[in-house]
């Protein structure tokens, strides 16, 4: 009884250990990447065309509200990315999983770009709506802090040359900084603000008509697929760099060589 329970436990954790194997990750992510890319391109294209040309204008804001179809996905992704990094930080610290460190450090620049995008599109939207590019409002300020947290993580990862120390420092900063995420989320409820509340919630129906929020659903899902795709691209490269001495990485390099310089490669053999 005892041994069978142990064996069962071993079985269910097998995927977790596999996930920690760079070679297994490289193979599975290579198969996943084209599908994620196609899904991202289709979802974003449909959402953008629908949102720009077919959704009705807002009765108060007119057409400027169409910025929502880029602003909200970028802002959601900026926060989700940070939460994912904090989870990776915990996994990396507790289980010493290499792949978690790689995911954390590869996600940071993408998260920084998304935060910057949310801030810039928000400023462009704020000008015609509030009459100002920027206000020192709780939501905007906490998003700016998120951007600096991302910059801090990138700088920390680059500054520490020892790989294990860098991973540990980044994990700690990611975990501590995650306190900012609920502050961003609830800032529009805790403090009086110009910023409008959430469009989507899991418990309530959106306050806007379906032809306005459906395109948003497409771009949000599209941005998540996009994030998955570009994160995998970065992680795959990082895996190759870290495993440069492994036989399977040499196979990848040789395969790449054969793809583009076949006569030269043939001569060498």
């Amino acid at each position: 009884m005892n041994t069978s329970a142990k064996a069962k436990g071993g079985m269910s954790w097998a995927w977790f250990h596999k996930l920690g194997s760079p070679k297994w990750f490289y193979g599975i992510s290579g198969r996943l990447l084209p599908w994620l890319s196609i899904a991202a391109a289709l979802l974003i294209a449909i959402g953008v065309v629908w949102g720009l040309a077919f959704a009705p204008p807002d009765y108060q804001q007119g057409n400027s509200f169409r910025i929502i179809y880029m602003h909200v996905p970028a802002a959601m992704l900026a926060q989700s990315c940070y939460v994912m990094m904090a989870v990776c930080g915990v996994v990396g610290l507790v289980w010493k999983m290499k792949m978690a460190d790689i995911a954390l450090q590869c996600a940071a620049p993408i998260g920084a770009w998304m935060t910057a995008l949310a801030l810039v599109t928000g400023a462009i939207w704020g000008k015609p709506t509030w009459g100002s590019w920027w206000v020192w409002d709780a939501r905007l300020t906490s998003m700016l802090i998120l951007l600096f947290l991302y910059f801090g993580l990138i700088a920390l990862g680059n500054a520490i040359t020892n790989r294990d120390s860098a991973a540990r420092a980044c994990a700690v900063l990611a975990i501590v900084g995650v306190i900012n995420i609920p502050i961003i989320k609830y800032s529009v409820e805790w403090w009086s603000t110009l910023h409008q509340g959430a469009t989507f919630s899991l418990t309530e129906k959106p306050a806007m008509p379906a032809e306005m929020w459906l395109p948003l659903l497409f771009t949000v899902l599209g941005f998540y697929c996009f994030f998955g795709a570009v994160l995998l691209m970065r992680m795959r490269l990082e895996v190759l760099k870290r495993e440069a001495r492994a036989g399977w990485v040499k196979d990848v390099v040789i395969k790449h060589l054969g793809h583009k310089a076949s006569p030269h490669n043939g001569a060498e053999r």
């Binding site: 974003i44 953008v48 720009l52 040309a53 077919f54 959704a55 009705p56 204008p57 007119g62 057409n63 400027s64 169409r66 910025i67 880029m70 602003h71 970028a74 993408i110 770009w113 910057a116 995008l117 810039v120 599109t121 462009i124 939207w125 000008k127 015609p128 996009f226 795709a229 570009v230 691209m233 970065r234 795959r236 490269l237 190759l240 760099k241 440069a244 990485v249 040499k250 990848v252 390099v253 040789i254 790449h256 060589l257 060498e268």
Partner: protein, 58 residues
């Protein structure tokens, strides 16, 4: 279609400049995020291929 004509679509009431610049910046940022890892991978594989060749000669 929520616009009468194509020029209507471009002008977007009086918000055309805001909407189009926001979307333009978005696509530039998305493109940067795709192209950076793409070219980094290509550069790395070429560099590794050179290294492998060097090592196989010596």
């Amino acid at each position: 279609m929520s616009f009468e004509s194509f020029s209507d679509f471009l002008v977007m009431g009086k918000h055309g400049l805001y909407v189009w610049s926001a979307y333009g910046i978005c696509f530039i940022v998305l493109a940067i995020n795709v192209l950076t890892p793409f070219f980094a991978r290509r550069r790395y594989l070429q560099q590794e291929a050179r290294r492998l060749r060097r090592e196989s000669i010596t």
